[in-house]
Amino acid sequence: MRAKYVLTEVFVGLWRNVTMTIAMIITMAVSLTMLGASLMLYLQVGDMKDFYYDKVQVSVFLNTDITDQQRADLEARLKSDPAVQSVFYEDQETAYTRFKDQFRDLPDLVKSVGPESLPPSFRVTLKNPENSDKFAHALEVAAGLNTGDDTSPSPDPSASAAAPSPSPSASAGTTTTASGSADAPIAGIKQVVDQKKLLEKIFGIIGSIQNMALVVSVAMGIAALLLVANTIQVAAYSKRREVAVMKLVGASNWFIQAPFVLEAMFAAVLGAFLAFLALIAGKVFLMDGSLSDLNQVLTPLSWGRVLLMLPMLAGIGAVVSAVTGWFTLRAYIKK
């Protein structure tokens, strides 16, 4: 009976300020869509990081004039490194075949390049791909390629020179390479490329897109909250007589405030549902539609993840607007 009273009040209240209610729902929907998109992006990027970082290799490009002996020495050295899982040698012919395949859409480029302009390389797969930056750095130092202005994040040169004692951790294992070869530079290495660095650049770009979506959703969220606060004040004002009588006869604060708070929550949940529809449309028309080519790069977005957004957005929207509503009313009713 109380529930029926409260529910009636909610719908009468929503209908009384119908334009305001619609504005509230739309702002909620837009800000929750942005929030949902950036949440999904966040989860996707996490997946992609796991997926790609696991496959990170370090490419060791060789000078074309490297002798067979130098190459064999280097291969032996790489294979004996405890941090290395496997080493794959790609000669110039193989590199050229792969290059032709990769750029078959650009025949002019393929024509202008011959097998001799592509360097042979070792593809080194590490036991622990996370440490590829340390390994690549150590190898560069050992090969005398490190010019000092290197941007690679962590490795501490003094540590790699100082610690020949083998420790169980994989990172210590990689440093052994560097310290062992500190006396004479390894010959024949042209360039060491850590794929992780390339990935980090890509993820950096994705991250800033995600941050932008977050900033937009927060800004929209603030607008939505102000609208919620305003709508509730208008609703409370239009029911000021009832509120005064309720206070007088001793209705509990909960009972006075519940209809208003539920109004805000209802609008939020409806907004979340619209946002959810927008995200479904985004998946169908963008991810599976016009951007489906990107699926080779991006890990595919699962339906489960889109579905997960409905309870999340509804929950976030409902809680946030309920809290806003509650505090707006407390200030209003105390007067």
């Binding site: 007088l248 209705a251 509990s252 009972f255 006075i256």
Partner: protein, 226 residues
């Protein structure tokens, strides 16, 4: 039943206190008039008893409870033991007499069945039998005040506070309302009425407490206005 102990109330930005060291005691079942000129502080007493305002100093005790120590959600249940009537009736214009009274029950969680049993009874008591389904604008001032009294009394409060209940009514209607309040008083309900209607005070011959400048200047059983 009601006790004020050395109560001082100064509103923010006011130069002098509205109530200045006021002590008064009202027994259960009494009928008390608070009289005095406008701004003498008599309405502040009603607000203190309802816990709408708190005293700066002193204690307000209602039903053996220190009102100033009641916090938060308990204020609501405390107010259920007090009925209140005002000069401006404070009825809901879009509800009938019946619905106005039922509303007071509904919002404190009473069922519709209770309302159906109790509301006609109390409307009958205040003399509105047969006018249950009129809207406030279809009722005279006196009848509207009767609805307000019915609403205040429907929950059978121990105390009925009336803040100038006859202020908007003509003398004859005022006397009818006073008869009604008297009848309610005879059921054992303590009635505290703030007024500056000398006619009524003189006719009723009940306890009169006169306030001037925030202080009690007279407290007389069976008193008159003058």
């Amino acid at each position: 039943m009601i006790r004020l102990e050395h109560v001082t109330k100064t509103y923010p930005k006011a130069s002098r206190p509205s109530l200045d060291d006021v002590s008064v005691s009202i027994e259960k079942g009494e009928f008390v008039f608070f009289i005095g000129p406008s701004g003498s502080g008599k309405s502040s007493i009603i607000k203190l008893l309802l816990h709408e305002i708190s005293p700066n100093r002193g204690k307000v005790i209602v039903n053996n409870k220190d009102v100033t120590s009641i916090r938060g959600w308990r204020i609501a249940s405390f107010r259920r033991s007090i009925g209140c009537v005002f000069q401006d009736f404070r009825l809901l214009p879009n509800r009938t007499a019946y619905e106005n009274v039922a509303f007071a029950l509904e919002v404190i969680g009473k069922s519709k069945a209770v309302a159906r049993r109790v509301v006609p009874e109390v409307l009958e008591l205040v003399g509105l039998g047969g006018k249950e389904h009129r809207y406030p604008h279809e009722l005279s001032g006196g009848e509207q005040q009767r609805v307000a009294v019915a609403r205040a009394f429907v929950n059978r409060p121990l105390i009925l506070l009336a803040d100038e209940p006859t202020g908007n009514l003509d003398p004859d209607t005022s006397i009818e309302i006073m008869r009604l309040l008297d009848r309610i008083n005879r059921t054992g309900t303590t009635v505290v009425m703030v007024t500056h209607d000398s006619n009524i005070v003189n006719q009723m011959r009940r306890r009169v407490i006169e306030i001037e400048g925030g202080r009690i200047v007279r407290d007389q059983a069976r008193g008159v206005y003058g």
